[in-house]
Symmetry: C2
Subunit: 177 residues, 2 copies
């Protein structure tokens, strides 16, 4: 399980698709669980306060567990703003299979690109509980097992490579078990 | 998607595993979503009143949709006691991919076998909202697209065959699309 998290527009979905393409080329079956997509289906009845966000992550992690049990490498892309939420996801998925990746980008940088137009809306107060503005984002602890990718400093191929360098040996060691 | 439903002990889980074994032999990837299993994970925070049961089925159908989108034949085994719930599942999954199978057995027959000891508990009033006793089970309409399997009259291999006769041609026609 590759757990990508970070603020809106940091590059999580782009990374998820790049990872999927690379893993497909290696013959590895994958499933992307994307926060925006899940909120159109499984999580459509959830809001954005802390409890709803925790439930959003809990359901995602439980769904990931179902895919992992089917032998499918699962790539999650969620804002997942609090350490507690990440810790819960890790518990549900299981330490052994959880690769935590912080997709790091500055609020200002993401607001400037504003691919989905959300930052402009948030500036006008039109987005409820917007992470980084109305709701805090907790970075991982300085000493943590998370891979930190600064997407404003490094290109997509370098970021993808850093994750695959960790993930591919783990997939192969599982296969040979 | 093979949607198996019926009262507790009717044979849903047994059928699901038999179907999985047969489909695996055909090289078809499957995922079983079992009501009891999901209530230990994704649906652990749900009770047994009608609203909670509807949400239980909604989440199962949305999760099935995610598996179907990954190319995995999904087999659900839920009591799913109301026609409305089945209709909702069909809507979420999509008419084209939904094979509805009513796993039919009598309350008395299931109570007699009582594999999980639930009927004995229910008789003592120790199981909340037990389907067929405290909570009603709605059979499919007389004229419906559901396959009806009477598991007290026919053995597992005959029941499995009846489902596979419908499902396998549909899998092959999808592959060739």
């Amino acid at each position: 399980m590759i757990w990508l998290y970070g603020i809106s527009g940091a590059g999580k979905t782009t990374l998820a698709h790049a990872l999927e393409a690379h893993l497909a080329a290696e013959g590895v079956l994958t499933r992307i669980l994307d926060g925006d997509e899940l909120r159109k289906g499984l999580n459509r009845n959830l809001g954005y306060d802390d409890d709803a966000r925790t439930e959003n992550i809990r359901r995602a992690a439980e769904t990931a567990r179902l895919f992992l049990d089917t032998g499918i490498v699962t790539i999650a892309a969620f804002i997942c703003p609090k350490r507690d939420m990440r810790e819960m996801a890790r518990q549900i998925v299981g330490e052994d299979e959880f690769v935590e990746v912080y997709v790091k980008a500055s609020y200002e940088g993401c607001a400037k690109r504003d691919v989905k137009g959300l930052y402009a809306k948030a500036a006008k107060g039109e987005v409820k509980k917007f992470t980084g503005r109305d709701s805090s984002f907790e970075e991982p602890e300085a000493i943590s097992s998370a891979i930190v990718l600064e997407t404003e400093r490094h290109g997509i191929s370098r970021c993808t490579e850093r994750i695959l360098d960790v993930v591919i040996p783990r997939i192969h060691s599982r296969k040979s078990e």
